[in-house]
Symmetry: C2
Subunit: 370 residues, 2 copies
Amino acid sequence: MSIETVPVRLGDRTYDILIGAGLIARAGEEIVRRLPGVRAAIVTDGHVAAAHLDPLLASLEGAGVGSTAITLPPGEKTKSFEALQTVVDGVLAARLERGDAVIALGGGVIGDLAGFASGIVRRGMRFVQMPTSLLAQVDSSVGGKTGINSTHGKNLVGVFHQPQLVLADTGALDTLSDREFRAGYAEVAKYGLIDRPDFFAWLEDNWREIFEGGPARTRAIAESCRAKAEVVARDEFETGDRALLNLGHTFGHALEGATGYDSGRLVHGEGVAIGMALAHRFSSRLNLCSMDDALRVERHLAAVGLPTRMADIPGDLPDADRLLAYIAQDKKVSRGALTFILTRGVGQAFIARDVPSSEVLAFLKENHPR
Amino acid sequence: MSIETVPVRLGDRTYDILIGAGLIARAGEEIVRRLPGVRAAIVTDGHVAAAHLDPLLASLEGAGVGSTAITLPPGEKTKSFEALQTVVDGVLAARLERGDAVIALGGGVIGDLAGFASGIVRRGMRFVQMPTSLLAQVDSSVGGKTGINSTHGKNLVGVFHQPQLVLADTGALDTLSDREFRAGYAEVAKYGLIDRPDFFAWLEDNWREIFEGGPARTRAIAESCRAKAEVVARDEFETGDRALLNLGHTFGHALEGATGYDSGRLVHGEGVAIGMALAHRFSSRLNLCSMDDALRVERHLAAVGLPTRMADIPGDLPDADRLLAYIAQDKKVSRGALTFILTRGVGQAFIARDVPSSEVLAFLKENHPR
């Protein structure tokens, strides 16, 4: 069994991401080696619990880690104040202390929610991420961003709280649907598009093998984690470069909001895929990048089966003005000016501040399916 | 008008505490000088709003700071998940950004709640404390601890989030009841008891003038803020010395919990006063400090009208075993051992880890009014 280790270097908050098959079954020994004497509350959802909770409990028990499980309904709606309170109360009811750990076993929703809870119970407990979706393994479980949604928008409430350890069991990905796997793949492609053109070219050549599993999949996940870890190490609290990770997310979040976070219509990774395609197309419209590069990006995302246009979203969308309002409410707004991640070509993304909202509106109108 | 400035030195999170009469009326200019271009959401309660909200709004408007007010019911019950969500939603509805500020105008409840909200909206906004009670001016508004209560105990949920500025208007204290002022005074005396024996002796000689107002009051507040700022600068995240500030709080929180946070029976400062008297008496029982010192502390607290014994609390208390359970659930518990702040005499407090619960139980039984 080959495990890849990617360190996230953050001074005294440095931690390792372990990537490989079988990590759920050996979670107990990996955790107790780093956090001796720890007790744990596992936060998970009903779907993930059915597949992975029993092996995890057995592994923890075998390593002498006392634990309790808090199981929530699956889905984005669980990133709510109500679910947060449920987790917080459950952790306190288990009488866990500051030195004990919350373990997030699940996808991005569970990781964000459990991480937030671990950041606020007793003003900060230990935290272990065990991401079971591709999206969570390459994105949300790395970097310390936690949070819940608000009626005003996605991820508007949360804290920065780094885990002590991330265990990404690639075996867990075998139970994902194709749609879920593709949605996570959008974030993998994102790292190539930000600043790793060679990685993007490698993905264009090897995506089929990544979807099938095997060494290419583990390599793609490890490379994605390395890419994210580098950006996070440069800018933990998103005062600068970290915003690059939002490539595709400003448009993407707006579309998620506009579809009411209805996963039947659009899941996060699909929003990011459309958002990345739009970011390249918008950059081309502003004469920042070539139309060839914009089309190349669309072609690859479409090849793996991801949506790339607003018209690919089933059902009606709000008009362009309403979409702009969703963008303005996005948390990457800085002092009234619109900030976008734009690009000069594949692997050449940059932070563009003061993008005129009139340009955004005109672009949205041109690309609106109506 | 004389304003004292106490800096809290925390690297790039360093900030000033301004102390003096009339600071509410000049809040706008003080804020805009340090945070140019900021907009603000004022969080306050109905009682404080009636006395101070209009002057604050006028001051902010005069300085060109756009603001909105969120007014909550007064009382400890407002430190709840429900009120937190109300504040978070109000701040988001006002479309404030990361660089904008939440202003806490009120006592400790409002400061802890608003600080928590400012720490989690958009993963951390700016924060200005405007404490209007003596307790908040000398304690809760300094040091960055924020939070709410849980059914499992007090302040069990929150974050560390430092303010950018604290404006302590001593004029606001004129509207406090004697009981509220005395409750805050318990925390003033605490700083003397921790490590400033000269300050405690000065308080014994000058407490009447502090209660009447004037220069002695401002001096006592500034000295308290300096004392707290020094401890916080040494240990911002309470991994060591900061626990000294909990002198009297382990017993105090247990008594607050045991009385259901019913302010008719016991307010926080009164719990701390009894807790400090008990901590000295317990230290004397353990032959750590002299009974003379324990009696001296009780004498001074009783002189200003504070309670010093469990029997001073109106109504019935749970038995000693139940009180011990409240203590064990307190968040200062570390890995199962009971941690107490004990003392070798006036101004000689220290952190005692591994205090046997049997000793605590025996002491509680001896001092229980039943």
